[in-house]
Symmetry: C2
Subunit: 252 residues, 2 copies
């Protein structure tokens, strides 16, 4: 059982870990702890203290803000391209948002203290490679959040759904996502019926197909052109900032 998971899962499945220089990876790997991340689990609560940072490999986390009246809105997603817990090295320790598992799967966690030591480890006069990588990731995350703001302002539910599907798809190995419309709605902060309608349109046009809790993307290219520019902006920026020149490539 354990052997099976070790075969199926390894730290390189997370793009950040994969693009660490050999030396750092070797130092860090022994401290990485593989954990299952079940759907709905809350890994980070508004104002709470984080003990670890999390590197998803097959799971996807959703950062969102829950309002006083209970409504909520997603701020960004974190999958195998990133890490949860940037506030640890940014120095704020906590943020006013929440992180829950949007797609069940596995991830690695690392004690915050260890991560910090490596983060602050200088390479000569220059800052360390981990710091460099994490800050670039943070900038990419900022772009993602910014684009969410823009998208929320100007684009239709259908466009936003397309964007969201594409971003989620990019973090998964298959072209099928296990996800109810209700859940998607709560991520995007819109009505469930709005998703039903938008998804219905996309299905009618042959871009996706779905059944009870499962959505399959059929025509990815057309879905992309159906989406707003926000998807491409985010995608481009992630590639630019985190292109793993050489090591593991991000599936485009």
């Amino acid at each position: 059982m354990l052997a099976a998971t070790s075969l199926l899962h390894n730290p390189h499945q997370n793009h950040l870990l994969a693009s660490l220089p050999e030396a750092i990876f070797e130092r860090t790997a022994p401290h990485l702890e593989l954990i299952p991340m079940p759907l709905g689990e809350v890994y980070y609560e508004c104002g709470g203290q984080l003990q670890h940072v999390y590197f998803p490999i097959t799971s996807i986390l959703s950062l969102h803000y829950v309002m006083e009246d209970g409504a909520s809105a997603e701020i960004a997603g974190v999958g195998n391209e990133g890490v949860l817990g940037i506030s640890l090295f940014m120095g704020g320790k906590t943020t006013p948002s929440r992180a829950t598992v949007q797609t069940a799967g596995y991830g690695y966690r690392l004690k915050g203290q260890l991560m910090l030591e490596e983060f602050n480890r200088a390479g000569g006069r220059r800052s360390g490679a981990l710091q460099n990588l994490l800050l670039r990731y943070t900038q990419a995350l900022i772009t993602q959040i910014s684009q969410t703001a823009v998208c929320n302002r100007h684009h239709s539910v259908e466009q936003q759904l397309s964007r969201w599907l594409l971003l989620t798809l990019d973090r998964l190995p298959t072209n099928e996502l296990t996800m109810t419309q209700e859940l998607i709605a709560s991520m995007l902060g819109v009505r469930r019926e709005g998703i039903t309608e938008a998804a219905g349109n996309l299905q009618r046009e042959g871009l996706i197909s779905y059944r009870r809790g499962h959505i399959t993307v059929i025509d990815r290219d057309r879905l992309e052109s159906h989406s707003c520019e926000c998807y491409h902006v985010v995608k481009k920026e992630f590639n630019r900032l985190l292109s793993t020149n050489g090591k593991v490539k991000v599936p485009v």
Copy 2:
């Protein structure tokens, strides 16, 4: 003339500069260059290279994204509490957004190279105080952007206007802002008429008063309770992360 401006303006008017440890401030101050920042000036263009970072003192900058169809939306504002050009130390060098002057005034600029050297200057095994400060500011900025996203999703134009007025007011020495409704509308990414209506309501309720290009906040407290929670979330987070009670309160 020059003497007059030197008397009127000094780097401590920028909260980040003001909370630097003495030693760093002394090193840096000689390289700070006071510049006027006229309304509408573009300090940062999508994809462009920054040569300097900018510390506003009496000016306010707006970070926004301009879409393919010309529409735009503000992502965040930067005033005397912050700095423009985080992508320089975050490692991305550029971002897909634009920064323009929203309120004319003065600011200091610093050569990017100099800032970087100080940023990477380690204090013993720990990272430097400037790094610490700038990263905490960046986290606060992330909160601001996140809250913009949430606000765009769920709150009315009137609430958003209130939030925006308050955030802008906090960056100014007076309770009057020089600003046309047209300009505010383009910041928020809504119709000009929408602002006319919302501002009319606020005026009727005695929270603000305005005339042709000038808005005065009369009852700040009531404006706050009229605004959505977003203002308070952002404000709290800035205070928490960058509280300048006294001078240096840097390494945590």
